[in-house]
Symmetry: C2
Subunit: 460 residues, 2 copies
């Protein structure tokens, strides 16, 4: 006999987690669609040459790849950005620009498993390609706010920066070539603190003490994390912009970067994102060299340790490795499975392992067709209904209903069938009522169950 | 530069196909949930030993498999049944029975690509495990009817058989050991005809002329395909059951098989499936030895050549290779991507490459924040709205709207902003109306657009 087990670092999703996980994906699709992002899909497998060398050394090392039966070198995608670049190069002549797409799909990384991290996980990416517009930047941030709100989250912070500001400063300081090294140092600011980063900047990036000081002054520009309320936050942002302008000393690149950030900030407020969820933070670097403009990350205020649940930024040229067409754009990537884990921790996930609300119990096989017709009538009335498959004892069927999290049981034995009624049992209050039912007039039963569900929903 | 291309046999889904494909998956989820099937998910990658030898020689040959970086032999799933068996063996002690699950996910087969067949495709499987009940059989068939109806299909036939009937006959004839060989022959009935199957039965399965005649008489029992209307179909089914009973000559196994098929047929009608979509057809064999009871396949009447879009059956023991627990059940597998291709051919797919209905055009960057606020108001009113990202000429923006399939454009230039109105343009009739709009009172605009969409929906 073969031991039934999943591979190291992989997992099964059982109904109790999969039900909310699927709802979250559906909310994601609804929000993306409401902004005009269109869905696409690409294969899990790509030519190895498409995938390799596109992320980092780490993603290369972690990639699942092999030679297929046709002798082709193939790999499993490790993100949705590289496939998007390939897709855009291949199809943009047909699709035109601007092009807004979302893509919700599993990606694969052979990293060492750790708490809450798996080798297969779902990402939800959304991008606007072929435009440098402020509107695209603003809508990217607005999508995040709408999405997390729809998921029931209230306390989160979207940290926003414009990488052009730092690039401008480095340019001004004659340090443009050191950009990557400086970014790598600044990325550690939260972890190792100002002094350590200062030291590292002067050592490894080989820049002067004065230059390091200026870089660090810039990187520490943010509205205070303890400002409470939307009005305060907006005020704090104004003062950050003022400081930035002072630091720029009229340098064109920096000034343009600051103006852009101001436009995005103001637009995002106009689009309805509360100011206390939006934080200007010039320390954000977001590793990849690939970003050139607005960059952002999203922290759950109650769970900062799990890291960003939605990050991304503006890039200057998406698909330069595959096409001569210049494709600027901006995109975000929602770590859906990380968010599922977070919401589990915050107890925001509903507790049920059935998607149906109503269990129709069954007693007498002679009435099988009547039970089947009854279940169909209830479903046609808009209810989600499971018919217990076997004519077992009521106690066993109600135990099943309780374990799975059904909210209403419909009970009809010989006596009820004869009297033209069924019992509707509220599984929260354990109260039962007889309700009239006939196969040619199921409306009364449908509305009795619907109102019972309405009540338990209020109570639950 | 690297050529942007997908692997042989794989494909990208562009928005025009992905939008309806995603809607179909969502309809699938809604229908499965309405019957109490719960979602699960399993990894794309499994231990090779879990997957190999579980399907056929063909699936073994076509499997994508390799050694991972940790030296493990791994494979990509080629169906959702083998992962379900592994899953059930691993988790049933926790989940209990009966257990109803659905699983919508991609599977991978390195078969030679042909028209409409790809090496990665989505299956939607639903199973009821841990019960031998007639109700589970009936609901499986009822799900198919509900699902295809919800997709807008009307003309399809669910062909149903009970493999126990043929097994009973073979047992009676002393041919029980020849079951697989006989099934393989009968599977060709539609393709090569009665005489050729007769010959093959007598030759390769090594059974007598008389035995072959009896097997073929049985296999030809079906209600006539030209019976029109539900009443006729039910009548024809009655006469099929009569013929079957005559053929059974009191043999217990056959009689039990026939009675079961009658119960399932009657239950399925009681559950609301129209009789003219349900066809008793004893010739159906459905390859795999694995099925032991009810088996079924679903043919689109207008496209019989594409084969069955939803097939499955009852099995006696799902997970015998992984656990001693005896798990009978019944399940169906919907070939979702095959169905997408069929609906494309039947012109049942909507023609749009945007999921949004409303395009808000943009003219003057000085009003950027006003446009952003306007779009947010419309979305909060329940509309799906894209804001064109750049302040281009109106003509270019309307061309974009027409190409993507937007239905309403909202147009506001300096003049409109000053007058406190916006133009609502119906992109079908090309008619425009001025509608009052103020940021603090967007309701009139929301309802004007909603009613405009209502009208074009009627016209479309």
């Amino acid at each position: 006999m073969i031991t039934p087990r999943t591979l190291k670092g992989f997992r099964d999703y059982l109904p109790a987690v999969m039900i909310p996980r699927e709802s979250m994906m559906q909310i994601g699709r609804e929000v993306f669609r409401s902004f005009g992002y269109a869905p696409i899909d690409t294969p899990v497998l790509e030519y190895f040459e498409i995938l390799t060398g596109k992320g980092s050394d780490e993603t290369d090392r972690q990639m699942f790849h092999f030679t297929d039966n046709g002798g082709r070198e193939v790999g499993m995608r490790f993100d949705l950005t590289v496939p998007l670049a390939r897709f855009a190069a291949q199809h943009t002549h047909q699709l035109g620009t601007p092009f807004k797409r979302y893509h919700i799909a599993p990606v694969f990384r052979g990293e060492n498993p750790q708490a809450g991290r798996y080798r297969e996980f779902v990402q939800a990416d959304f991008d606007t390609i072929g435009t440098t517009s402020v509107v695209a930047d603003v809508e990217t941030l607005t999508v995040i706010n709408t999405l997390l709100e729809r998921l029931g989250l209230r306390r989160f912070t979207i940290r926003v920066n414009n990488r052009a500001i730092l690039s401008g400063l480095l340019d001004q300081l004659g340090l443009a070539e050191h950009t990557s090294a400086v970014l790598r140092c600044l990325d550690k600011l939260d972890k190792i603190g100002v002094d350590a980063v200062d030291k590292e900047l002067r050592q490894s990036a080989g820049i002067t003490t004065e230059q390091a000081t200026q870089v660090l002054r810039l990187a520490q520009c943010k509205n205070a994390s303890d400002s409470v309320g939307a009005a305060d936050s907006a005020g704090a942002a104004e003062s950050v912009f003022q400081t930035l302008q002072d630091l720029s000393m009229g340098h064109e690149g920096m000034a343009a970067g600051i103006e852009r950030l101001q436009q995005v900030y103001s637009g995002t407020l106009a689009a309805g994102v509360p100011a206390d969820r939006l934080r200007i933070d010039v320390s954000i670097a977001r590793g990849l060299d690939y970003y050139t403009g607005i960059i952002f990350e999203t922290i759950l205020d109650e769970l900062p340790a799990i890291g960003s649940v939605c990050s991304g930024g503006r890039y200057d040229n998406l698909a330069g490795l595959y096409t001569k067409q210049h494709l600027p754009g901006i995109g975000g990537s929602l770590g859906l499975d990380r968010l599922v884990a977070a919401m589990e921790q915050l107890k925001l996930l509903p507790q049920a392992s059935t998607p149906a609300e109503v269990l129709v119990t069954q007693f007498n096989e002679a009435h099988r067709d009547d039970y089947l017709a009854l279940a169909t009538h209830l479903r046609r009335g808009g209810l989600r209904v499971e018919l217990y498959p076997d004519a077992k004892k009521l106690k066993a069927q109600l135990k099943y209903a309780a374990e799975k999290g059904f909210r209403v049981a419909v009970i009809a034995g010989d006596d009820e069938w004869q009297r033209g009624v069924v019992q509707v049992k509220d599984l929260h209050s354990r109260q039962s009522d007889d309700v009239a039912y006939a196969a040619d007039a199921p409306e009364e039963l449908v509305s009795a169950i619907a109102s019972c569900l309405e009540q338990t929903r209020g109570a639950g």
